[in-house]
C-alpha cells in the first residue's frame, strides 16, 4: 500500500465490499464521499479488496479518564485506541476528576479530542453535580458550550433518586438531550461483587442481583413515558432488562438501550474457572458478567432491535488496580480495540446480524441517539468520509500488549478473536492504515 497523505486531492478505496455486500470503489474528495462506483481513479489508492467498508464507528460509552486518571488513559491514548478499533467518534463519560459537570470541563475534554485528532471526542455531561446524586448539574450550560453536550449521564453511579431522575428527564427536553442511565439500585448492590447466582453462591462473593438493574430500568421507562422524554439505558446486562425495554418500546415510548461487547460474549462462570485463574478481577465489571441465558437474550435483543446500540464501556484501569484480591479490584474492561471483533464473533458469525445491521448498531444508531452531527451516516455520495475498512477473514490471538490503550485490562487475553480493522478514515483523512496509526 502506498503512503497516503492527509489529502484533499482524492483518495480512492479500491474494491471494498460495501457493508459486506456488493463491491465498489469509493472516491474521497474534500473530506466527503465524492463518488461510489466501478473503476474510479484518484491521486492515491487504497487497496481494499477482500475488506468490508463500514461507516466510521461511533461509541456512545467510552471512559477516557482525562482529566484525573491519566495513569489509566488519556484523551490521546484513548482516541488512538478508538481509531485502531475503527471508531471515528466516541462519547467520553463524565466520571473524570474533576467530574465533567460544568461547561469548563466538557469544553476541555472536547478540545483535547480536537488536538489529538485521532477521532472526534464528544463529551457526556454529568446529570448531577459531582455525580453525587443530589443536585442537577448545569445541564443547559454544557448543552450550550462549544462541546454541545446532548448526552447526560452519571455513569458509574445510578441516578437512583426518583425525583431527581424525573427532573433530569424533563429538563433535557429543552435542548433535545437524553439521560443515559446507569441502572443500578444502590441498596440492592451494597458491596456487590458479581452476578448473584450459582457462581456467586459457591464463591462466597456478594451477589449483584439482576433485579437491581431491572427495577431501575422499569421505573425509568415509566418516568420517561410520564414526562414524555427520551431515556437511554446504558449497558443492559440481563434478560429481564431486555423484556422491560421490549415492553416499553411496544408502548411507543422513546427508550433506547445499549449493550457492551463483553456482555455479548462473556459469562459469570469465568470468575470461577478461566484460563487466567479463579477470582481474576480481569472479569470484574459493572454491570457484572451474567449467565449464558442472559447473553443469549442480549444477542437476540440486539438482533431484533430491542437493544439499539453496541457501546464499549471502555474502562481502562492500571495494572495495580487489577492485580489484587477480587474485592479490592477496580471494575471495568477496555474494549475499543476489540469491539468489532467481538461483535463479529457474537453476532455476525452466529448469523444474528449482517454487516448492515452492524453499521446500524455501531454507527448510525449511536450517532442518532447522541444527536451527533456528521457521524453515523450511510456510505453515500455527499456523506462525510468517515469510513472503516475491516478484514473479517482473519483470526488472531489477543495480545494486550499490542493495544494502544494505556491500560491492559482486556478480558480476552489468551483468546482468539476474528477480524482486524485495516483502515479508518475521519472526514477523508486516514487515521489508521494497514492496521497501524497513520
Amino acid at each position: 500500500m502506498s503512503p497516503v497523505s492527509p489529502s484533499p486531492a482524492g483518495i480512492v478505496i479500491k474494491g471494498a465490499s460495501i457493508l459486506g455486500g456488493e463491491t465498489a470503489d469509493i472516491l474521497i474528495r474534500d473530506g466527503v464521499i465524492a463518488e461510489i462506483g466501478q473503476d474510479l481513479a484518484g491521486d492515491e489508492t487504497v487497496d481494499a479488496r477482500g475488506l468490508i467498508a463500514l461507516p466510521g464507528l461511533v461509541d456512545l460509552h467510552t471512559h477516557l479518564r482525562e482529566p484525573g486518571r491519566e495513569d489509566a488513559e488519556t484523551v490521546e491514548s484513548g482516541t488512538r485506541a478508538a481509531a485502531l478499533g475503527g471508531y471515528t467518534a466516541v462519547h467520553a463519560m463524565a466520571n473524570t476528576s474533576p467530574v465533567a459537570d460544568t461547561a469548563g470541563v466538557v469544553e476541555q475534554v472536547w478540545r483535547l479530542g480536537q488536538e489529538a485528532g485521532h477521532c472526534d471526542v464528544q463529551p457526556v455531561g454529568a446529570v448531577t453535580e459531582g455525580l453525587a446524586g443530589e443536585r442537577l448539574a448545569e445541564l443547559g450550560a454544557m448543552a450550550d458550550s462549544a462541546a454541545r453536550v446532548r448526552v447526560f449521564s452519571d455513569d458509574g453511579k445510578c441516578v437512583s433518586d426518583a425525583v431527581l431522575m424525573r427532573r433530569a428527564l424533563e429538563y433535557v427536553k429543552a435542548f433535545d438531550g437524553v439521560v443515559a442511565q446507569h441502572a443500578q439500585e444502590p441498596r440492592l448492590t451494597a458491596d456487590a461483587q458479581m452476578n448473584e447466582g450459582a457462581v456467586s453462591g459457591r464463591l462466597g462473593l456478594t451477589g449483584w442481583p439482576a433485579v437491581a438493574e431491572e427495577a431501575i430500568i422499569a421505573r425509568d421507562c415509566l418516568l420517561a413515558a410520564h414526562v414524555g422524554s427520551r431515556l437511554h439505558v446504558c449497558h443492559v446486562s440481563t434478560a429481564g432488562s431486555v423484556e422491560i425495554i421490549r415492553w416499553a418500546k411496544s408502548k411507543g415510548w422513546d427508550v433506547t438501550a445499549e449493550v457492551t461487547p463483553h456482555h455479548l460474549l462473556l459469562t459469570d462462570d469465568l470468575v470461577e474457572d478461566s484460563p487466567v485463574g479463579a477470582y481474576n478481577p480481569i472479569y470484574k465489571v459493572n454491570p457484572p458478567l451474567r449467565t449464558r441465558e442472559d447473553v443469549q437474550a442480549l444477542r437476540e435483543a440486539l438482533a431484533d432491535g430491542t437493544i439499539d446500540v453496541v457501546a464499549t464501556d471502555h474502562a481502562p484501569h492500571p495494572v495495580e488496580d487489577k492485580e489484587t484480591e477480587w474485592a479490592a479490584a477496580a471494575m471495568g474492561m477496555i474494549g475499543l480495540e476489540t469491539a468489532l471483533p467481538v461483535v463479529q464473533e457474537a453476532m455476525v458469525e452466529t448469523g444474528l446480524l449482517d454487516w448492515a445491521g452492524v453499521a446500524e448498531r455501531m454507527s448510525y444508531a449511536p450517532a442518532r441517539i447522541g444527536r451527533l452531527a456528521g457521524h453515523g451516516l450511510p456510505l453515500a455520495v455527499g456523506s462525510p468520509a468517515n469510513i472503516t475498512l475491516y478484514d473479517a477473514s482473519v483470526r488472531r490471538e489477543v495480545d494486550p500488549w499490542s493495544y494502544a490503550s494505556k491500560s491492559r485490562n482486556t478480558p480476552y487475553e489468551g483468546r482468539a478473536l476474528p477480524g482486524r480493522v485495516v483502515a479508518t478514515f475521519l472526514r477523508g483523512r486516514p487515521t489508521v492504515l494497514d492496521g497501524k496509526l497513520a
Binding site: 461483587q193 448473584e196 447466582g197 450459582a198 457462581v199 456467586s200 453462591g201 459457591r202 464463591l203 462466597g204 462473593l205 456478594t206 451477589g207 442481583p209 485463574g277 479463579a278 477470582y279 481474576n280 495495580e320 492485580e323 489484587t324 484480591e325 477480587w326 474485592a327 479490592a328 479490584a329
Partner: protein, 309 residues
C-alpha cells in the same frame, strides 16, 4: 492431591480419605513423649494472616512445628492492606524468602487463588472471606468419623448463617464427597439464592430435621448480621434456630453436636448443650492440629511438584 488446598472441592474422595487416614496415624504422636517428627526439616511454612484468628494460626503453627518445619508468622492485620496491591507485594516477599508452604487467612473471598498465582509454594486456605475454610471441614469430618465411624449415608445438619459461612461451604462440599447427606437449616435470608444447586438438602424448619440427624453443626451468628435485617431479633433467631435444651433432648441418643467456634452461648447454642458429652467442641480443637499436620505433610512432605496445579 493437587498442589494447593484452597477449596474442599479440590479433594477427590480418595484425597479426602488419605488425609483423614493420615491424620488418624498422626494423632498418635500427641500421645508420645516426643511430639515431633523430622519430616519437614528444612522446609519453611509461612502463616500469612490478614485477619485475626489466633486459634487457627496456633493450630497451623503447632502442626507445622510438630513436623519440624520452620514457621514464620506474618500478621498483616492492622497494616494498611485494605487495598489489595500489598497482597502481591507480600507474595513476592514470601517468594524471596523461599516459602515452601503458605497458609493464608484473608477477609477477601478468593485471595488464596490470587496468591497461588504469585508464589511457587503450596497454598493452604485457612479461611477466605465468605468462601471456604477447607481444613476446618477436614477436622470436622475427622471428628465425625471418630465418633460415628464411616460418614457414608450419615445425616449431617448444618444450622445458621450459611450465606456468610466459609465453614458451611467447605463442609457441604467435603461431606458430600465423603457420602454424607447434608441438610442446611437457616432462615431464607441467610441462604444463598442459588442454594438449590448445592449438593445438599435445605430446610427452614429445624424441628423437623433434628430427629433424623446424626450430626448437628451449629454455625456462629456474627454480630453484624443482627443489625442488617437478616432476621428480626436475636430472640426470634434463637427461638427458631437455636439449639436449646428442649431441642437437644429430641436428638437421637448417639447424635453429635458440633460448633466451629467461637460460640455465642445462649444464642445459637445453649451453654449446657455446648458442654454436654455429646458435644465435640473441645475435641474439634485438638483434632485441628493432627488434621492440619496431615495436610501439611501430604502437600509439603514429598517431591516438589513444580508449577503444575
Amino acid at each position: 492431591m493437587k498442589r494447593h488446598l484452597i477449596s474442599a472441592a479440590d479433594l477427590s474422595r480418595d484425597d479426602a480419605l488419605l488425609i483423614l487416614d493420615t491424620a488418624e496415624e498422626l494423632a498418635k504422636i500427641s500421645d508420645r513423649s516426643i511430639k515431633k517428627l523430622p519430616t519437614l526439616r528444612g522446609r519453611t511454612v509461612v502463616n500469612l494472616f490478614f485477619e485475626d484468628s489466633t486459634r487457627t494460626r496456633i493450630s497451623f503453627e503447632a502442626a507445622a512445628k510438630r513436623l519440624s518445619a520452620d514457621v514464620i508468622n506474618f500478621s498483616a492485620k492492622g497494616s494498611s492492606v485494605s487495598k489489595g496491591e500489598s497482597l502481591k507485594d507480600t507474595a513476592l516477599t514470601l517468594e524471596a524468602m523461599g516459602a515452601d508452604g503458605v497458609v493464608i487467612r484473608h477477609s477477601a473471598s478468593g485471595a488464596p487463588y490470587r496468591l497461588a498465582g504469585w508464589v511457587r509454594g503450596s497454598v493452604v486456605n485457612a479461611g477466605d472471606g465468605t468462601h471456604e475454610h477447607p481444613t476446618q471441614a477436614l477436622l470436622d469430618a475427622y471428628t465425625m468419623r471418630r465418633r460415628l465411624g464411616s460418614l457414608e449415608g450419615r445425616r449431617v445438619t448444618i444450622v445458621g448463617d450459611v450465606l456468610h459461612s466459609r465453614v458451611a461451604r467447605s463442609n457441604v462440599l467435603l461431606l458430600s464427597t465423603l457420602g454424607a447427606e447434608v441438610t442446611l437449616v437457616a432462615p431464607p435470608t441467610l441462604l444463598p439464592v442459588s442454594v438449590a444447586s448445592w449438593p445438599c438438602e435445605v430446610s427452614y424448619d429445624l424441628d423437623t430435621v433434628l430427629p433424623k440427624s446424626d450430626v448437628v453443626m451449629m454455625l456462629r451468628v456474627q454480630r453484624e448480621r443482627m443489625n442488617a435485617a437478616f432476621f428480626p431479633t436475636e430472640r426470634e433467631y434463637s427461638r427458631r434456630y437455636g439449639l436449646d435444651r428442649e431441642r437437644f433432648a429430641r436428638l437421637k441418643d448417639d447424635a453429635v453436636v458440633m460448633h466451629p467456634g467461637p460460640m455465642n452461648r445462649g444464642m445459637e447454642i445453649a451453654a449446657e448443650v455446648a458442654d454436654s458429652p455429646r458435644s465435640t467442641i473441645v475435641e474439634q480443637v485438638a483434632n485441628g492440629v493432627t488434621t492440619r499436620m496431615a495436610v501439611l505433610y501430604l502437600l509439603l512432605g514429598g517431591a516438589d511438584l513444580g508449577g503444575n496445579q
